[in-house]
């Protein structure tokens, strides 16, 4: 090896050490989905050390006087890099952060937005107050070092259903539930872009740790009549049609009917875990893992419906 090559290798090693000391690099690339509207598209994977928890879509809308951010991502580092990515697109100030719901991949970048109003539905604030530390601890376990220095930052403002004008941009906030007990959707009137949060998944299996399937399905039905041009799902590629709504609905209906049917046949949970998943869902990312998780979350309620209370009798 020549002396120059050796020096170049040394420089590269030093640079990579410095980069790792600076933390996980999410390589966030804002993607323009409409005029003044951008999405940061995460991987359709589970949390891992390799992806640093970036399995989520976040976004931002550039108004006349400032920027509205939708969800802050899984970690402090993500939030900081999200801010930096926004600054590469516009020099307008960030004036508002909106949280779609309380799940950890959407809210733990809040620390990067000190002094900025962080609004969510009331149920989201309640969940983060009660379970934020537990959710955060679990993410440290799954993601590791990319979570460094991440702490829970609660929302400091309440998002209300209805028209919301900010920074010269007309938004419509849509309060719903089903994926969790507080799901906020953000609709940008000018571009007809819907940030659907995790009410819509596309090509990635929906998650259900706090789901209420009947509410979720009726929320999806209510989206049928919404005239949108662009839909940014919580997970998966950006859409220009109703395919993500239809796919999420199809999977959730199958899940509901399958679990209900299994409970009525008297199956126990390990048997339900072995049931086949239809071919049409096989292309969904992380299908097996999410199906197993969903059985654990949802089956106890369905099975209890099939087990009547037995009147007490005196022991002999």
């Amino acid at each position: 090896m020549s002396r120059w090559r050796w020096l170049a290798a040394l420089a590269a090693a030093v640079a990579s050490t410095l980069a790792s000391a600076a933390g996980f690099d999410y390589q966030l690339q804002p993607r323009k989905v409409a005029d003044g509207v951008y999405a940061l598209i995460g991987k359709t994977e589970n949390f891992s050390r390799d992806n640093g928890g970036n399995i989520v879509n976040t976004g931002f809308i550039i108004g006349r006087d400032g920027v509205i951010v939708i969800d802050s991502g899984p970690s402090k580092a993500y939030g900081e890099q999200q801010r930096a990515a926004i600054a590469r697109v516009t020099d307008k100030p960030i004036v508002q952060l909106l949280l779609t719901h309380a799940h950890p991949d959407h809210v733990f970048g809040n620390q990067a937005y000190p002094g900025i109003p962080i609004a969510s539905l009331p149920a989201t604030a309640v969940t983060l107050t009660q379970s934020g530390d537990a959710l955060l601890g679990n993410l440290y376990r799954l993601v590791g070092d990319a979570m460094r220095d991440t702490e829970v930052r609660l929302p400091n403002a309440v998002a209300a259903d209805g028209a919301f004008s900010i920074a010269g941009r007309k938004l419509r906030l849509m309060a719903a539930r089903g994926h969790t007990d507080g799901d906020l959707m953000v609709f940008d009137e000018a571009s007809r872009t819907l940030f659907a949060g995790d009410l819509v998944f596309f090509e990635r299996t929906p998650t259900t740790p706090n789901a209420d399937l009947p509410h979720w399905l009726s929320t999806l039905d209510s989206l049928d009549s919404l005239d949108f041009a662009v839909l940014v799902p919580g997970h998966g590629p950006v859409l220009h049609d109703h395919a993500g709504i239809a796919q999420t609905r199809d999977y959730l209906r199958w899940l509901r009917d399958g679990l209900q049917g299994a409970a009525r046949r008297g199956l126990d949970m390990p048997e339900v875990l072995q049931l086949p998943v239809p071919e049409r869902f096989q292309q969904l990312a992380v299908l097996k893992t999410e199906y197993e998780r969903s059985v654990t979350h949802l089956y106890p309620a369905y099975e209890l419906d099939t087990l009547p209370t037995i009147p007490r009798s005196k022991p002999k």
């Binding site: 679990n138 376990r141 740790p209 046949r265 008297g266 126990d268 949970m269 390990p270 048997e271 875990l273 072995q274 893992t289 197993e292 998780r293 059985v295 654990t296 979350h297 106890p300 099975e303 209890l304 099939t306 087990l307 009547p308 209370t309 037995i310 009147p311 007490r312 009798s313 005196k314 022991p315 002999k316």
Partner: protein, 251 residues
């Protein structure tokens, strides 16, 4: 050939207990402890007919669903389930007197661990099967929901259940849910308090199956049995403080 004498020397230099104990296919660090505690002096074989079905990863460490089965193994007199790396290893023992050698239950897991089912046949041999379960943990040292909510006191030992008629295998399925905190005694300041026995019998008083449960069984236990015959089943159970429950479950 100089290899043969070397092998002989190696074999006779191994400790006696290691020669008697088959190598653990799950490669558990606690295998020799488990074997010494539950199978000492008894013949043990690993047998693919003994199956443990559980998710690869515990989504809820307080409520891990497991099914054990020794279908294809004749004359199973007793089944034992242990989790090697739980602070309390023994989960249950089951005598399927007039029942299929299968059972589904849920348990609390403290950390990633093998789950083993052992089926003892009439000849005294323990047949073992098992799987590894990955878990974040904390299930055994977490207080029960019931310990923080006095509502359970009025519903203690309330039974829900149902019988599903005999399937193609000729067994009817009994599913039970009993309200009970199932406290392990490992959560600070909350003493152990758990159901320790459930006996199932038919209308004529014939005992169909006997189950002994231990601390790791989940709060408000949900159990599935596959019983021989058909018709109503009488359930009688009790906990370690002498509270008893009974229920008649008709098809």
């Amino acid at each position: 050939m100089s290899k043969l004498p070397l092998i002989v020397v190696l074999s006779i230099s191994l400790p006696v207990f290691a020669a008697e104990l088959p190598a653990d296919p799950l490669n558990s660090p606690a295998w020799s402890t488990i074997a010494g505690r539950y199978f000492k002096g008894q013949p043990v074989v690993f047998d693919a007919r003994v199956k443990v079905t559980a998710p690869a990863s515990a989504e809820d460490p307080l409520d891990v669903p497991v099914q054990i089965s020794a279908e294809g193994l004749a004359d199973v007199e007793e089944m034992l389930v242990v989790a090697d790396l739980n602070p309390i290893q023994k989960i249950l023992s089951y005598e399927p007197l007039h029942a299929a050698p299968s059972l589904a239950f849920r348990f609390k897991v403290e950390q990633s661990t093998p789950i083993r089912a052992a089926a003892r046949t009439r000849d005294g041999v323990w047949h073992l099967g098992g799987v590894w379960l990955s878990a974040a943990g904390g299930g055994c040292t977490t207080p029960s929901y019931g310990s923080a909510d006095p509502v359970w006191q009025t519903r203690l030992n309330e039974v829900r259940g149902r019988l599903w008629p005999a399937d193609g295998h000729g067994t009817q399925r009994l599913r039970l849910r009993v309200i009970h905190p199932m406290d392990t005694g490992l959560a600070n300041g909350i003493p152990a308090f758990y159901i320790d026995r459930i006996v199932l019998s038919d209308a004529k008083g014939l005992t169909l199956a006997r189950l002994n449960t231990f601390e790791p069984i989940s709060e408000n236990p949900v159990l599935s049995f596959d019983l021989n015959g058909s018709g109503a089943v009488r359930v009688v159970g009790g906990d370690i403080q002498g509270n008893q429950f009974s229920a008649e479950i008709a098809p």
